[in-house]
Symmetry: C2
Subunit: 499 residues, 2 copies
């Protein structure tokens, strides 16, 4: 049953989780059903593998072609004169068991069965799925899927994906029980500055289940943060044990759907799924240390902070704001998220009073009250970050973004040149601000996030390259930071428990 | 006191609210403190008024200049040989009472006092503010502010704003107790496709209070939806009566800050403000029919749907999805927002089965299961929208957006030309889809929103021009639609009560 609440034991992970190296670090890949017809998945997937620059050898398999996309093709996988670590089967469901058998015969170590038409479509498909698993296990093969959009691994530049996504490289691993959502997250990651090290669209999880991917990524030193899109978990007990172990080492962030009757009906392809109302999900996640993402996209927001920022030592926030109204909103939103908009120390107030006009509010948030001087703003941020009362820093409007604002400024200057001058000025100032933020984070060892009310994705992506976290809304920042505080607490408690 | 709960009476609005026409539809504007120095607000505001193309006459006032920005200047407002409806005072706080007196002498009907330095800064400022109000009332003048970023009105092309914002024209009115948040919302509106008819940064509300703006916009036929950013309301009783009356006529959407101790501390400039925990805010808003925005930016999301879509007749949602995973997420999110992901009628299932492959899920959400055929998708949407069980339609992925996805596709084609071909193809398909959505809305009289997981703002703005509502996340769509359902219910109850 799904997500039963029980106290986790431990120690079995190593014995039950298999080594998934052939899936994520293959030295050679065969594409069974490879094709020169660009409307066929056997063409698209091969093209994705080739164009992303896979580091190993590629063997297209198709009995009726000599060459596919310019690469020598083989009539079947047995005729490849090399060790094949991984085979991607881009053939209809009916043909999959036979191909698995051939792969076993050829000594292939792992297969990815792309096609749908298995358990999710009814009795007949279920039989095909069972037969596929039976043959894979008999042949000692790992089986990804079936009904999957594929696998990605930055370690060997493997992009064996159905959709035309070209993931940004980074330190995040993603396990998704929906191919669409998973590959969309890879795509968005590029826009908002989240890079991936490994990805699997786990499909029907007929053989390799979620908890095995989780255990594997948990012990992968290239992976810093793990994301999970979950509809239902078959081996709930194993999943929880692995999650508890892994989340002691690195953040495990999950979005769980199937929280309502309607959701479970829609997810009926996962026949084992039962409703897990949000209260249950929350309780299970809390127990195992999994960080719950409130929305699908929040997984990326969370990943960005966990990858780039130190964990907070407490929940006291110091806020710099450009505009009092946003200071008011931030105070409410941070407090409601369980953070403390703390009183700043007398020393901090004194230092800030030397920089700001006499009518400044002398409180937290620190409102720059319209001070345009770019030499004062960074000093104010430094003073706030250095306050011993402050564990977390939020800088609102400190990075400006060259979108709407610059456009509007340009409107005032009546010329395209004027627009560009303002835009360039802001871009340069923003770049300096980003470098300053990086310095402050390493100087004080505290998480610092910037909130920039912009729809300008360029500034967000540029910030990400420098390791600076920029969110478009205060609400996102507050939610992410409060979850970092919770995770840091969970981790500390665990560490103390082990002593 | 703020937001006391009581049953509203009625009938006093007309007698206590003044006619704000001189503020929002002046035939002539004087700018006192106008300047040729581009770092002065007296220059920037005048430039904004000029460049937005104000339809009336403009009179710069400055005793030491002959011409300002090429326009004849006057030594004082009395020397202008014309009726001056509105004067913008861009002079320091200390000078404001004197200028108000001069305005009264010159027969000016309304003044906007831009400068800060009044009640929000302490005792001295409070005296200046009282003196300003005294002189304004004695002279029969309306006073906006002080401590305001100005006023905007599409009716006469008046953009008397401090920041360089050039609002998109439309049918929304915005009253903001924060100048920064207000003018930022105007800027964002352009990006996400929300146009404004009127705006006021209400500042300290020393004379004209929030409820008067609300009453005025309530009876303005050019205004279809009213947005409010509120920190505190002085005349709570009047505010509630006006809000109740106005929200019967048109949607009043509000974001209330000052919900926590920290928030109220940050908003201390509004000395009357008391904490209103979110439960209280919710209760008051519910009673008066005000729609509560969960975030500042949700005000724009809500405005977009209320302006463009018919009100839903019920809460039953039909969902079209491109990808099962998003269907699962949407089912959860819509249900959790209080909407019903309803069973579709047998007739609908039969009609859809004639178009979709045999293995389609035969339920709601309707998953297109990878059918690329652009002739089938619109027909499916039509069938769902026409179902008598369905009050609201959500189309996920129906509009694609030319952002990340097209970029990725282009990556696969290995060429810039390839990228552009795909991008253009998607843009064209999206435009057809938008036109189709407009047709369906008018055919069935039901609200239909598109959810497009894109960061491509072009597609969002283009959609808005056609009156098509596109949201970047399922959560936004669910929240907005559920609030539309609540408002429709409130309005119906009120109408029935009046019969």
């Amino acid at each position: 049953a799904l997500f039963r609440l029980f106290k986790a034991g431990g120690g079995f992970v190593d014995s039950e989780s298999r080594d998934l190296k052939p899936v994520f670090e293959p030295r050679s890949v065969a594409v069974i059903g490879a094709s020169n017809n660009p409307t066929k998945w056997g063409c698209i997937i091969l093209a994705n593998i080739v164009s992303y620059g896979f580091r190993g050898k590629i063997y297209p398999v198709n009995p009726s072609e000599e060459k596919i996309l310019g690469i020598k093709a083989y009539p079947n996988v047995m005729s490849v004169n090399d060790e094949v670590d991984l085979a991607v089967i881009a053939r209809p469901a009916e043909a999959v068991p036979q191909h698995i058998e051939e792969c076993a015969e050829a000594g292939v170590k792992a297969v990815i069965a792309i096609a749908g038409g298995f358990r999710e479509t009814g009795k007949e498909g279920e039989e095909l799925e069972k037969e596929s698993v039976r043959r894979a296990r008999k042949g000692g093969l790992l089986l990804v899927g079936p009904n999957t959009m594929g696998v990605y691994s930055a370690s060997v530049n493997l992009c064996a994906l159905m959709p035309p996504v070209s993931p940004r490289k980074g330190e995040v691993a993603l396990i998704s029980q929906s191919g669409n959502i998973g590959t969309n997250l890879l795509g968005f990651g590029s826009t908002v500055g989240v890079g991936f090290n490994k990805f699997v669209s786990s499909g029907n999880e007929a053989d390799i289940e979620c908890y095995e991917y989780l255990a594997y990524f948990g012990s992968d030193p290239n992976v810093k943060v793990i994301l999970l899109y979950l509809e239902g978990v078959r081996s709930g007990r194993k999943f929880m044990r692995v999650a508890e172990e892994v989340s002691e080492k690195k953040p495990v962030i999950a979005y769980k759907s199937g929280r309502t009757q309607a959701g479970v009906r829609a997810a009926k392809s996962h026949s084992g799924a039962m409703i897990s109302p949000n209260e249950i999900v929350k309780a299970v996640f809390k127990q195992t240390g999994i960080i719950q993402a409130t929305t699908v996209n929040e997984m990326l927001d969370l990943a960005k902070s966990f990858v780039n920022l130190p964990l907070p030592k407490g929940k006291r926030v110091g806020i710099l704001t450009w505009g009092g109204g946003y200071g008011v909103v931030a105070s409410d939103v941070f407090e409601e998220a369980g953070l403390d908009v703390v009183s700043l120390s007398d020393d901090t107030i004194r230092k800030l009073s030397m920089l700001l006009p006499p009518y400044w509010s002398k409180g937290n948030p620190v409102d720059l009250v319209g001070v345009f001087d770019r030499s004062i703003q960074p000093s104010c941020l430094d003073i706030i970050a250095g306050d011993l009362n402050v564990d977390i820093v939020a800088a609102l409007g400190f990075i400006v973004g060259s979108g709407a604002f610059a456009g509007a400024f340009g409107g005032q200057t009546h010329s395209k040149e004027g627009k560009n001058i303002v835009k360039e000025w802001i871009a340069k100032a923003d770049e300096e601000s980003m470098e300053y933020i990086v310095k402050l984070i390493s100087k004080y060892g505290k998480p610092l996030v910037a909130v920039t009310a912009t729809t300008d994705m360029e500034v967000v992506a540029k910030a990400a390259e420098k390791g600076v976290v920029v969110y478009p809304t205060i609400e996102t920042a507050a939610s992410v930071l409060s979850k970092m505080v919770q995770y840091a607490k969970h981790k500390k408690r665990k560490e103390e428990g082990r002593l």
